[in-house]
Chain length 337, copies 4
C-alpha cells in the first residue's frame, strides 16, 4: 500500500502515520516529493488497514499496489484452469456451449428444448427452476418440481445441467440435480451464498453483477476459491449503462482482460447481454473471436410462448444456424466447437 | 399497454397481433398513423404479455402506459404513509434520525456510540451484526453475538434499533431484537427475502440498489407491500456512476421524485452516498431541504479505529454539530427535528 | 406520437389536449384504457410538439412511436451505403483498415508509421494534427504543419488519409489534405460543425460520443446527411461506464444494432475503446466477427516514445500479426481483408 | 508520480525504468515491497511522462499523487474566489440567482421573462441566442438577432446577462452583449474555445460536461485560468446515468467536493439537472443547503408555449414562490438571497 499524506502534513503528522503503520505490522518506506510525502507500507494488502488510515486527517488517500484477489489471480496460478465434467471440458481448447430456455416451464417444453440444443451441438442444458422476478405479480418458476424435471431430462438426454441457485440453503439440493451451479447477477455479492459454494466440490458458474467492476467480480470468485472450491467459471452477461436500446451493454473486453488477470475460464451470455434475439448471433461470434471459453444462450422451442425472456431467445432453427457459423470463428482463434 | 407494430406490418400481420391480444384477454384499439400502426391493449399491465408480444416478429416494441407498482403508488394511496414505532414516527412532520457505527464491534463501542447519538437527538441506533464484505479476508461482523449486544443496548438506552438482515432465514431472529429491519443495497432484489419480509409486521428499511432505477426500487417495495406488510421506509444511498471521487453518487432528486410517485417515507444515507465524512454534513442538510423524512448517518466513537467505514463516519462532536445545524434547515421546510 | 394523459384527466382535460393537438396540425385518435386515456397524434414526429405537450399539467408523458432519424434510417434507405474513395470501398464486402499514430509528431515518425501500416495491408493512414488535450500543459499537436506532413505522406505512399477536424472553420482546409474527415468523440454533438460537414462532398468518419446513446449518434449523422452529404461512416469507440480497468467500455453490440437501424457503414476503434494495447487484438477480432465494416487502430513505430496514447498503440510487429489473424475471421463472416 | 513495476520485473527491468525516469528529469526513489517494486518519481506531474512509462512492458501502472489542476486548486489559492460584476458578487455570502427562458424567442417573451425574474429577486437573466439541437429539424435559436434582444433587455431592465457561446470565433461578439459567458455541457472540453476564453476578461460560467468527472471539469477550468482569466464560475447541471425518470442525475455532492478541491464559485442548474419543473423547487432548496453559491433556473412566461425546455421551466408564480422559500434555507447556511 502507498499512503499519500496531506499537502500540509508536517514532520509530526508524518511520524504519527508512520507509527500507526508500524503498529499495524507494516514496514515503512518514506519518500518525500515536491508536493507530497508518501509512505510505502511494506506488508500485505489489507482493506481494513486502508480504511483506518484514510480516516486519519493526516492522510489524503491510500493507493493499493497489488490487486485484492489472490487465488483468482494469474500471478498465483499461471496456467489456465480447465474444468472437466463428465467428459466435457471448460477452459481448454474446445468451446463449451450451454443453451436452453430461461425457465423450466413444463416437461414437454424442457425435453423439446434439450433435444434441440443437443442436436445442434450444445453440451450443457440451461434452464431455471427458481425465477423470482422484478414484479411480484409475474411467473416465479416451477421451483422444486422444476428441479425434478431437470434431473429427468439429464437422465434422458445425457446433457449436463446448469441451473441457478437462489440462496445458501438450497446449495445441497441443487448440487444433486445440477452439474454446474449458476450464481445469478443479483447474487454475485451474496457472500453467504459464495461461502457455501466454497464448501462444495461442484463447478460454479459465476455471473458478473450487472454493475460490478471486474475487480469485484474476481473478488466474488475469490470467496468461492478461498473455501477450497477451485471450479469457478466466470460469465460476462452485460453491464448497466445509459444506453436504452439494449437491455444491458455486453462488455466483451472483459473476456481478454479477465484472461490476463485470472486463470479461470470465462464464458459469455449474449442473450441477457443484449436482450434482443436479433443481436445474439453477432455477439456470439464476437465473443468467440474475443477468446471466450464458451457461450450461454437462451433457446426456446417457441419464443413467442415463453413465460419469460422470449424476446431474447433464439428458436431452434436460429440456434442450429448459429452453431454452424461459430465453428468457423472458433477455428480462426485456434478453438474447436 | 401500447403495441407498436413493425413498419412493414400489413393487414394480415396486424390481425395476427390483434388476435393474440384478444386471446390474452385484452381489448384492442387500433390506431393507424402515417408510419406505424399501433394497437392499444385495454386491460391490466402484465410483463409476461409484453414479453410474448415483443417476441413476435410483427411487433417492434411494447410501451407501458402505467407504472408497474400498484400498492406502492400514490395513485393507490394518496396520503403519506406515516410509520409509528414506540412513539417515534417516520414520514410525519418530525424528521427521524438513525445514527451509529457501521458494525457492532463490541459492547463498549456500541454503548458509547448509542449514548452519543441519543444525546445529540437521534431516535434510532444503526449498527450491523452481519457484515459480509467484498473481501473474504476482511472482518465479517460479530453475527449472533452482535444481535445480543444490540438487544442489550436497546434496553439500556431506550433507542430504537435498525439493523441489516442478510437472508430470508434470519428474518424471525432479527425481528426479535430490531425495531426496523434493514435490507441492504445488494439485497434490494433478493426476492425471497422481500417475500419473507412481506409476512412480518415490522417496519422494513429498504435501501436502493446501487444500480437500481427508481422503478425497480419501488417494485422491490411492492414485493413487501404485496405480502401485507405496509411499513416500508425507502432509503436513498447513492448510485454507481463513472465519478471516482465519491464512493457513490447520492441521487437526491430521488427524494422529491419518490414523494410524487409513492406514499412511502423516504430517508437518505449520506455516509454511503458519498463515502467521505467531510461531505456528510452538506449532503445531510441538502437531503432535509429536498424533503427527506429522515437520515441514516454513520457515527463512530473513534472513526480511525473503526473496523469498517471509518473514512465515512462522523465522530461524536461532528455529529452533534450537524444535528444542531439540521434544526434550522428542517424548520425552513416545515419539519421538526 | 402517443400522448398519455394524467390519471385524473377528466373529459374537459382530454378535450383541452386534443384541441392543442389539432391546433398543432395533428389528427387525434382517442383510446380509453382502464387506468389512463391515451391520445394517438397522427402526423409527423416533432420534438417541440412533445415538449409543449409535456409542459401541460394534463399530460403525464409523450411516447414516440418512430425514431427521430430519417435519412440515417434503414427504413428510408434499405440497402447498405457503400462509400468509394479512390478505389477503396467502405461498407462493401471488403473490410477497411485505418491505422497509424494518435498524433503527427514529425516527418520521420509519420512516414515510418505510414509504410508500416501500408505493408501490413491498411488502406488508410490515421494521424491527428490538432490534439487539444485534457491538460493545457500537454502537447497540443503540430497543427497546420501536421497537415502539410499528412499531405506529403499521402503523395509518397498513396495511402488515403483520415484526420480529425476540430471546428467548422477548418473544414475547408482539412478537406484539401484529407480523404476522410474525422469528427472526434467530444465533437459528436457540435452541431455547427456537423452542419458545415453536411455542405461538403467528402466522407466523414463520425465517432460516437463517449456518453452518447445510439439514437443521439444516429441523429448526429442525420445532421450531416440532412445537409446533403451522404458519405458518413460511423465509428464505435467505447462509452463511459463505471469500470476503471479499461479507458472506455467498447460497445460492440452497437455494430449489429446500427446495422439494423441504419444503412451507414460502421467501423470500430479498439484502441480508444480499451486504452490498452494488450486488448486491441482480441477486440479487433471480435469487432470483425460482430460485423464491423472496418477498424481504426493506433499503431506507432515506437509506442514508448509516443507523445500521446502510447499505452494503447500497437507496435509494427503486433499490427502485422493482427492483420494476418483478421483475414481468417473476416472470411468466416463472408468478408475480405 | 508512483511507478508500479510488473510482478516479474527483475533488477535489469527496474534499472531500465529508473534510467528512463532520470532521462525525463525525475528524481527516483525506490521502494521494494513484498510483491512489487515501486519507484517514486520526484518532480512535476506530467501526463505524457505517465503515458510513456505505461507503454513500457516493465511497468504495470503509474499512479498520480497530486491532482492535475493547479490554478483551479485550493492548494494554490486557499481563499474563495469572489467574482464582482456591476455590484453583483458571485461566490461571496450572497447567493446569485440567474433565471430566464431556455431560448430567446422574441422581444415580448424575453422582456416579460426579464421583468418577472427581476421582480422575484434574480440578479442575472439567462437566455440562449444560439440553440443548436439534437435534431436538425428543430428550432435552432434566433442567433444574432437574439443577441441584439439580449442587449436591449439588459439596458431596459438593468439585469446582468448570461448567455451561451458556441465556438471560439464568437467569443468577442458575445462578450459585448453578455456579462457572463456560458460554456454549455457539450463544449466543456472544446479546448480551443476554452483557450479563447482564457484571453478575455469576462466571467465564464462553465457547465459540467454531462459525463465529465469532477477532475475533468476542474481541468477545463484550468484551461481558462491558465490563459489569465481568473473569473470562472462552475455550474453543476446533472450527469448521465442509467436512471430514466430524470433527464440527468443532479450530482449535488459535487458542490461540497468542488468547494474542498477548488476556490472557484459553484452554482447549480436544477432545471437541466432534473428535466422536470416539479422537481426544481426541492432541488433548488437542496442545492442552497449543500452550499452552492447560486442557481441557474429556467423560467418562462408560458412554459406550455416555450420553443424548448418547457417541461423543465417554472412559470412566474412558481419562481416567485421558490425565491421566497430559498431565503430561509439561505439564512440557515449563513447566506443571503
Amino acid at each position: 500500500m502507498i499512503v499519500v499524506l496531506n499537502r500540509d502534513a508536517d514532520e509530526k503528522a508524518i511520524s504519527k502515520v508512520a507509527e500507526k503503520l508500524n503498529r499495524m505490522g507494516y514496514g515503512v518506506h518514506r519518500s518525500t516529493g515536491e508536493n507530497r510525502t508518501i509512505l510505502g507500507a511494506i506488508g500485505e494488502r489489507r482493506e481494513e488497514a486502508a480504511h483506518t488510515l484514510e480516516a486519519m486527517p493526516e492522510v489524503e488517500k491510500v493507493v493499493f499496489v497489488t490487486s485484492p484477489f489472490k487465488l483468482a489471480s494469474r500471478d498465483f496460478h499461471p496456467e489456465n484452469t480447465v474444468i472437466e465434467i463428465n467428459g466435457v471440458s471448460i477452459g481448454g481448447s474446445a468451446l463449451a456451449v450451454m443453451a436452453g430456455p430461461c425457465a423450466v416451464e413444463g416437461e414437454g417444453q424442457l425435453l423439446k428444448a434439450a433435444w434441440t440444443v443437443k442436436e445442434a451441438g450444445a453440451q450443457v442444458l440451461r434452464a431455471g427452476a427458481f425465477k423470482p422476478r422484478t414484479s411480484p405479480y409475474s411467473f416465479q418458476g416451477m421451483e422444486k418440481e422444476g428441479l425434478r424435471l431437470l434431473e429427468k431430462v439429464r437422465r434422458e438426454t445425457g446433457l449436463l445441467i446448469v441451473t441457478e441457485v437462489m440462496d445458501q440453503f438450497t446449495v445441497g439440493e441443487l448440487a444433486e440435480c445440477a452439474d454446474i451451479i449458476q450464481v445469478g447477477t443479483r447474487n454475485m455479492q451474496n457472500f453467504y451464498l459464495l461461502r457455501e459454494l466454497g464448501k462444495i466440490r461442484k463447478p460454479v458458474l459465476l455471473k458478473r453483477g450487472m454493475s460490478a467492476t471486474i475487480e469485484e467480480w474476481l473478488m466474488a470468485a475469490e470467496y468461492i476459491l478461498s473455501g477450497g472450491n477451485y471450479q469457478v467459471i466466470l460469465c460476462e452477461r452485460g453491464i448497466r449503462t445509459f444506453e436504452p436500446y439494449t437491455r444491458n451493454t455486453l462488455d466483451l473486453s472483459a473476456v481478454p482482460l479477465v484472461k490476463q488477470l485470472s486463470h479461470l475460464p470465462v464464458i459469455v451470455d449474449p442473450s441477457h447481454g443484449t436482450g434482443k434475439s436479433s443481436l445474439v448471433p453477432a455477439m456470439s461470434r464476437a465473443a468467440v473471436a474475443a477468446g471466450a471459453d464458451g457461450l450461454l444462450i437462451e433457446v426456446h422451442p417457441h419464443p413467442q410462448e415463453a413465460l419469460s425472456d422470449g424476446p431474447q431467445s433464439l428458436n431452434p432453427g436460429q440456434f442450429a444456424a448459429l452453431m454452424e457459423e461459430l465453428k468457423g470463428v472458433a477455428a480462426c482463434v485456434g478453438r474447436e466447437l
